[in-house]
Amino acid sequence: MERSITTIRFRLRKTSLALLLACIALSSVLAPHARAADQDNDRKRDKYLQLFVVQPYLELRTGAGRGYPVTQVVARDESVDVIKRKTDWYKVRTEHGIEGWASAKDMAKLQLADGAFFKVDFGDLEGFARHHYELGILAGDYGGATLIGGHFSYSLNPSLKIDLAASKFLGNATNGEKYEIGLNHVFLPNRRWSPFFELGTGIVHIEPRVTLVTPIDRTDQTGYVGAGMRFYIARRFFLRGEYRWNTVFTSRDDNEDIKEWKLGLAAFF
C-alpha cells in the first residue's frame, strides 16, 4: 500500500501532538515541584542578608574572636551571606560556600545590594540610650543584710523601662528573698551619667536563721520608691547604683520600712 504524504504528515502531527500532550502532562506533574524548589531556594536566599565587599578584602577567621586565625579573605565585589552573630562577630558564607567569622568593624564597611552601608549595632553611647533589654547583677545592703541579685529590664522607650528583679538577702538574724516588678524612669538617657527614679512592688519572703528563735517564716507584699544613677562604661556595659525605700506591708499593725542600696554591673542588648 502506498502511503500518501498527507498521511505521514498527519501521523507526524499526531506523534507531535502526543509528545506535546505528554510534555504538558509531565510539566504539570513536575512543575509544582520545580516551582516549590525554586521558592525554597528563593526563601533560603532571602533568609540571609547578602552584603557586598567594597573594601579591598574582607578577612574571615575560624572563630568569633580576634585570637582565632584568619584563614580566608573575600575579594572586593564579591558577596557574603550573613548567617549569624556572636557578640561582635558575624558568621558569613562566601559565594564559594566557605564560612568564616568577620568582625563587626569590618562588616560595617560592607554594602547592601542598594549601595547603603550595613548598619552594625556596636553598643555605644547611643546604644546605651536606645536599646530593648538590660541584664545585670548587683550586690548591696538590705536593711543590714547583704543583698545579691539580678535584674532584667525591658525598655518601653529610652526613658521608661519595666524592671524585673530577683534578690537574695543574707543577714545576721534573717535570710530571705524578694521578687519585684517596677517602672524605671531614666532622666537624660543619652548622657553618660543618667539619673533615674523608680517605683514598684513585689513580694518578700523572710525566714529566720535556725540559730535564733524569732518569728516564723512570712511572705509579705512590698512596695518601693528609689532613685539611682546609671553610668555608661564602654561597649555594652554600664554601672547601676541606687537607693530604695521599701515598705513591707506586714500582717501586723505596723508596716516595716527597710532601706536598701545596691550597686551592680549591667549590660544592654
Binding site: Y68, I137, I148
Partner: protein, 250 residues
C-alpha cells in the same frame, strides 16, 4: 587754482549727502563694536539680574534633574534586612565533684547560663547541688550526727563576671581543629548548707572547647568561699569544685 578741499566743498549737494551717509553708517558700525573704553559703561548698564537672583537660578539649575540620556526601566530593588540570628546566650549542664571543707568529696551537678556581652566578657549564673558526706569526727565518733540528712544537701547559687583570654585552637589528630579559650571568673552568691544560707564568694578558671559554633565543652575549677560556724567557731571555708560541662549557644 582751487584747492582739493575747496573742490569737495564745492561739490554738488547730492554728492555731499552721499559722503555724509557713508560716514554715518561707518560710525554706527563702530557703535556695534566693543570698544574697551565703552565696555565698563556697558557692563554697568547691562546686568539684568541681581546676585541673589543669579544664585537662585544656579540652585534651580542644580535642583533640576539632569537631562536623561537613557531612561532606565529598572525598578530599584527594595532591601529587606532580615533579622540576624544572635547567639550570645549559653546554657548547659555541669557535672563533677565538690570537696566540702570538713566533709567528704561528693558529686556535684548543676545548671549554668551565660550571656556573652563582648568576645571578652560574659555574665554567668550557676546553680549547683551536692550532698555532704560524714565528717571525720562523725566517722570516728560512732553515733555522733552533726547534721540531719536534709541539712547535708548543699546547694550553691552564684552570679559571676567572666573574662575570656588566650583564645586559640586545639587540634585533635591531624584533621580536626577546634576553637578554644581559657576564662577566669569571679562572683558572689549564696550557699544553702547545714540549714542556713551563707553568703558565698566564688572564683575560678575554666577551659572551653567548641566542637561547633553552637556547642561548647567546659572543664572548670571554682572555689566557693563562705563563713561557717558549724564546728563551734566561725571560720572561712574553701569548697573547691571541679566540673565538666556541656553548653549550647542560642
Amino acid at each position: 587754482m582751487e584747492t582739493r578741499t575747496r573742490r569737495i566743498l564745492l561739490m554738488r549737494p547730492l554728492l555731499q549727502a552721499a559722503v555724509v551717509g557713508v560716514l554715518v553708517l561707518a560710525l554706527s558700525g563702530c557703535q556695534a563694536l566693543r570698544w574697551p573704553w565703552l565696555g565698563r559703561d556697558r557692563q554697568s548698564v547691562e546686568p539684568l539680574e541681581t546676585e541673589e537672583q543669579a544664585e537662585q537660578a544656579e540652585l534651580d539649575e542644580l535642583d533640576r534633574p539632569p537631562p536623561r540620556v537613557i531612561d532606565p526601566q529598572v525598578e530599584r530593588r527594595k532591601i529587606k534586612v532580615p533579622k540576624i540570628d544572635d547567639e550570645n546566650f549559653e546554657l548547659g549542664v555541669t557535672y563533677g565533684f565538690l570537696s566540702i571543707e570538713d566533709f567528704t568529696t561528693n558529686a556535684i551537678y548543676g545548671i549554668t547560663g551565660s550571656y556573652h556581652v563582648t568576645e571578652d566578657f560574659f555574665l554567668r549564673a550557676d546553680v549547683g547541688r551536692s550532698n555532704a558526706g560524714r565528717t571525720s569526727f562523725e566517722t570516728l565518733g560512732g553515733n555522733v550526727q552533726l547534721l540531719t540528712e536534709s541539712e547535708r544537701q548543699f546547694t550553691t547559687y552564684s552570679l559571676s563576671v567572666g573574662y575570656n583570654f588566650l583564645p586559640g585552637e586545639v587540634f585533635v589528630g591531624r584533621n580536626v581543629a577546634m576553637n578554644s579559650s581559657f576564662y577566669v571568673l569571679g562572683g558572689i552568691g549564696w550557699t544553702k548548707f547545714a540549714g542556713d544560707d551563707r553568703l558565698t564568694y566564688n572564683f575560678g578558671a575554666g577551659f572551653k572547647v567548641l566542637p561547633s559554633d553552637w556547642l561548647a565543652l567546659h572543664i572548670g575549677v571554682q572555689d566557693r568561699v563562705f563563713d561557717s560556724d558549724l564546728l563551734g567557731r566561725t571560720k572561712v571555708t574553701n569548697n573547691i569544685e571541679m566540673v565538666l560541662g556541656a553548653t549550647v549557644f542560642f
